[in-house]
Amino acid sequence: MATQRRTPGSQTSLREANRARIVDAIKKHGGLTQVELAGATGLSPATVSNIVKELSTSGVLHTTQSIRSGRRAQHVTLAHALGLVVGVHFSTRHLRVALADVAHTVVAENHMPLARDHRADNELDKVSMLLSDMLDSVEATRDEVLAVGIALPAPLDRASGTIARSGIMRGWDGVVVAEAMERRVKRPVFVDNAANLTALAESRFGAGRGKRNSITLDIGDGIGAGLLLNGGLFRGNNGVAGEFGHTTIRENGPLCRCGNRGCLEAIAGGPAILDELRDHLGSLKLGDVVLQAMAGDAPASTSASQRRTSATCSIRSASWWAVSWPALASSSSARCGTRSSAPSSSART
């Protein structure tokens, strides 16, 4: 049988492009009805229906009946059996690994503490061993893993694949993390900054769902931000657009782990707060200090107030915040969360 030529603008290439739009929309949203798919892709309902039928038959998509606004609808997701992906998060003191299918359903999860100055070679070996155990637990093989995503608590130089600023993760300086992990797991590996991937997760599954523009502030031991503009991560020209934790806000201030002085992180990050409170509260973890501040404990709350003048968030905000601008959203958004109630803005027609 003669193969079809894929010339630009041909029916074949158009059909392939439309298939890709539908798969990309489902990847982004997790699962959509056919009506929602038509809205998200701009394709006609008939085109969506034909392509969904074709991709369901070939095993790429999975459809189930559901109810939307009281009416029956065809809900479309990626087929679970397409394969598995791995998500890895290295923070300064913890390692978390999740094994999930391509529909983002987590099938196995594990976490463990890390030494303060952990090293890339040791920790990547650890991930490889953990992954083997997790695959065994769900009776899957490494061949079923399609890709690995890794979140690191540091800015990344996207050209070299190494950490952009030395000293932030000393045991990882100069390591091309994606390549080092690929050598161990023999699967494609993709690495990004943890604040960026936190923003991605909140926009897909959490507080930022449905918002096309948001900033997610990641405040803990380190301080960073992930920026989402027009539905996509914005990294800036050098890949470090959200790295506001290493902005100098006090000349000749305290020494930061990045080697500069007076960084926001050195003043308002977790270790800085714990250092100040050690005399009053002894050795505590950051989570305990947050709880004490929320309960109105005087030293903890005072520390929070003092740092509010330097940082954009107080110790009460030492968690993850998503910020969205209704002005840039494509539809009206109801106000929610911890702000005082106000009437929702409504779209004028």
Binding site: R96, V97, A151, T198
Partner: protein, 50 residues
């Protein structure tokens, strides 16, 4: 056209963005790494048949 422009500059009454707490807690970056990996995988009928 006028309606499209009006919709694009709708702001809240106090011109402030919504500020809300993240919902995913300590799992957020891990789940983001999962989503990132899924985004980078090419899914085709050929990959389904493997």
């Amino acid at each position: 056209m006028r309606h499209a422009v009006e919709r694009s500059i709708i702001v809240g009454e106090d011109l402030m963005p919504d500020i809300v707490q993240g919902q995913l807690g300590t799992r957020a970056a891990t789940l983001g790494a999962v989503a990132y990996a899924v985004d980078r995988v090419s899914l085709t009928p050929q990959s389904a048949s493997l």
